[in-house]
Symmetry: C2
Subunit: 360 residues, 2 copies
Amino acid sequence: MQGVMAWRLMRRKAFSTISKAFKSFSGYPTTRSPSLLELDLPDNWTPNPTTATTTAIPHFQNHASRQTAALIDGRLMAEEIRSGIASEIKRMRDATGKVPGLAVILVGNRKDSQTYVRNKIKACEEVGITSLMAELPDKCGEDEVLDAVLSFNENPSVHGILVQLPLPQHLDEEKILNAVSLEKDVDGFHPINMGNLAMRGREPLFVPCTPRGCIELLLRSGVQIMGKKAVVIGRSNIVGLPTSLLLQRHHATVTVIHAFTKNAEQITQEADIVVSAVGVPNLVRGFWLKPGAVVIDVGTSPVEDPGSEYGYRLTGDVCYEEAVKVVSAITPVPGGVGPMTIAMLLCNTVDSAKRAFGFS
Amino acid sequence: MQGVMAWRLMRRKAFSTISKAFKSFSGYPTTRSPSLLELDLPDNWTPNPTTATTTAIPHFQNHASRQTAALIDGRLMAEEIRSGIASEIKRMRDATGKVPGLAVILVGNRKDSQTYVRNKIKACEEVGITSLMAELPDKCGEDEVLDAVLSFNENPSVHGILVQLPLPQHLDEEKILNAVSLEKDVDGFHPINMGNLAMRGREPLFVPCTPRGCIELLLRSGVQIMGKKAVVIGRSNIVGLPTSLLLQRHHATVTVIHAFTKNAEQITQEADIVVSAVGVPNLVRGFWLKPGAVVIDVGTSPVEDPGSEYGYRLTGDVCYEEAVKVVSAITPVPGGVGPMTIAMLLCNTVDSAKRAFGFS
């Protein structure tokens, strides 16, 4: 539990910081006063490094013989979806002579971003989506990125525009993402899409890919969401927030847990559905989970592992070895949410092309 | 508990309806498939009429002698805020020669809407905000309402535009609200404002008035929100949703309860802060509440009361007579959230004028 303890320390530190905001409150409020919207404190989950190693956690060897939980196979479901998309695109090409196009903007030379982008483009090619790419140097100016966005906005053969995040520090992410045409915002990060996802009776043009993937994993596993208690751990704009909004649209009773939550274990213990998207290896231990719960593990962190081929292995937020003995179903890491995220990007791009072509 | 029981019945009924949506799920998903975004089922909280009477609830006579909870006096706080606004506007007029302007669009002749609008205009006059009004007949066309919105959008003396809801059935509320200039959306109902309220690191131009009022009531009562368990009962676009987003921005751990929630009482029992915005008189009974909790009651429903002057009295979602014996602080109905809502509308209008004038 060292990790969680360390994370509590972080929280207490943040408490003393924030208390100033309350002290400073006085007089007549203005919309922009921090006391109304509160300080946007970082959720510092970074645990004591020791939990990130395998010392506290039994190294995952041969789960098949030990696990009782059903495996939610994201690779298999993503494969089914991709083959469905491929035939949709064939049908589209046969009927209209056109295919969907996805444009990717990659700024800088982060290895992980390059890998993600490569995988997305490969996935596009496999299903018949044309992919365009704009690679910009790490030091490029904001106007260069905006120009790339605007030219893709105007390009009729582009139906989805993806700005690979994170962007270099000197660029204004909000400004750049807001410049993406609403009709091509296949990442669903535009505030209008987010607002329409949040508001009842509204429909966003696009639902962010990873949250959409989480819901598809649940639906395709036959998990009923309505009336269930759902806990989302993490509140990022990209995963935690939209996932909580989607689960609520499915009429779950949703609680969002973040780094300032007290007794996160106890709250999680009551959940029928747990979605964790924090990026802290093994933060969620077996005793956090209710017997029979369903777990979607979005976390994917590299953890040192001298035993494995590359010297590290990808690890989720949830301690898999402990969870499989408690829950009824769980996604593995890797092979759970990851493949679904790319599949949903393809879905969003095809949906966008269908709208553009008036094809259904 | 007849009311709550009846509400459960409603929920079960809805369950059977929605299960169809799951059965219909198959093949490759599209963004608009109901299985992804789910059906937008109404939260039917309507209880058995008998709870709306005073038979189940001891009639509130003389709480002063019985209550142990502190009263959160919305009238007093709103009065303080309004006098602060009045002096802000004087300062603005002295410096710029201009004052803020609020335009109200009222369609139809609903008595309650007319009353609300009258109160808002009266409050504007008291603090020195110029008010304009467009009254349209119940049967007017959508274009007439849109024309009114657009002319106010272009009018430089108007800094806030308020479309009084609900609109007559034949009008497209979404289309009309989205036509309001983002810079004048003092109700904060535009999806961009909602999206920016939901997303971390973003700031909406306006926060919806009632949710803003709820947070101000808590802050001005010295209630610490960060790290607290908060339960929001009701998930309307106007109150429940934005209030839950604001509480989360204040780093509370928020659970949203709706008509499909199971064991709403138990979940509410764990909350340090309860905000109820359902409109079902006395839905939240004393035993729903944790000793020492803080309650913000947004519900304001007329309940028959032969004993009172007009034959009815305004009643909240929370059974006040029971709650005051359990919680540490509570807003009365009337005299709690209501006055704050109007005060926040004035704040939003002044904030908007300050931005327009570049005055701070």
